[in-house]
């Protein structure tokens, strides 16, 4: 539910990323088959890839575990997502794996990094755009 809304939120901002010279990529961790379904559900026509091994999540030290997945904030954010029509039909990938955002330059320096603290927590698109130097 929340991941879908996070990705749906990107759609109206895609041009802004482009104007800043940024390539925008969504990475998931399910089977590559589910990319298509995810694309249809979110309406996101940009780049989506998957790392079924989830090794990238481990390297970036994104959180994992039931405690980071079930919190009150998760429930309220989830409810909000459902009311906005982004309900979670079924989970493809690891339900206990948290995500995050990283911005990497061609010189391999990091312009922005955020590890989601719990399910329902994610950085707003506006924040990412604001924090990245043009």
């Amino acid at each position: 539910m929340i991941c879908r809304r996070q990705v749906a939120d990107l759609i109206p901002k895609q041009a802004e990323f482009q104007n800043k010279g940024l390539r925008l990529v969504v990475i998931g961790n399910g089977d590559s088959y589910f990319i298509k379904t995810f694309r249809e559900d979110t309406g996101f026509q940009g780049e989506i890839y998957t790392d079924p091994s989830r090794q990238s999540y481990t390297i970036l030290q994104f959180k994992k575990g039931i405690r980071s997945s079930v919190r009150l904030k998760t429930l309220t954010t989830g409810l909000k997502a459902i009311m906005e029509g982004h309900s979670q039909k079924s989970v493809q990938g690891d339900p206990w794996q948290q995500g995050g955002v990283i911005v990497i330059t061609p010189g391999q320096s990091i312009s922005f990094f955020y590890a989601n603290q719990e399910a329902g927590d994610y950085v707003e698109v506006e924040t990412i755009l604001m924090k990245i130097p043009r």
């Binding site: 061609p106 922005f112 990245i132």
Partner: protein, 44 residues
Amino acid sequence: MQPSLQQIEQLGQLEILDEQEISFKFNSLWKEQTTVLIFVRHFG
């Protein structure tokens, strides 16, 4: 905690898949352009 250059290099060597199950290295994403990578929890 922000990853180190070593971690970014490790990440770059990993393979990802597209919809056609074609695999390529992570670092090809940011080779020519600063890239925003949004890691979602799952495809739920």
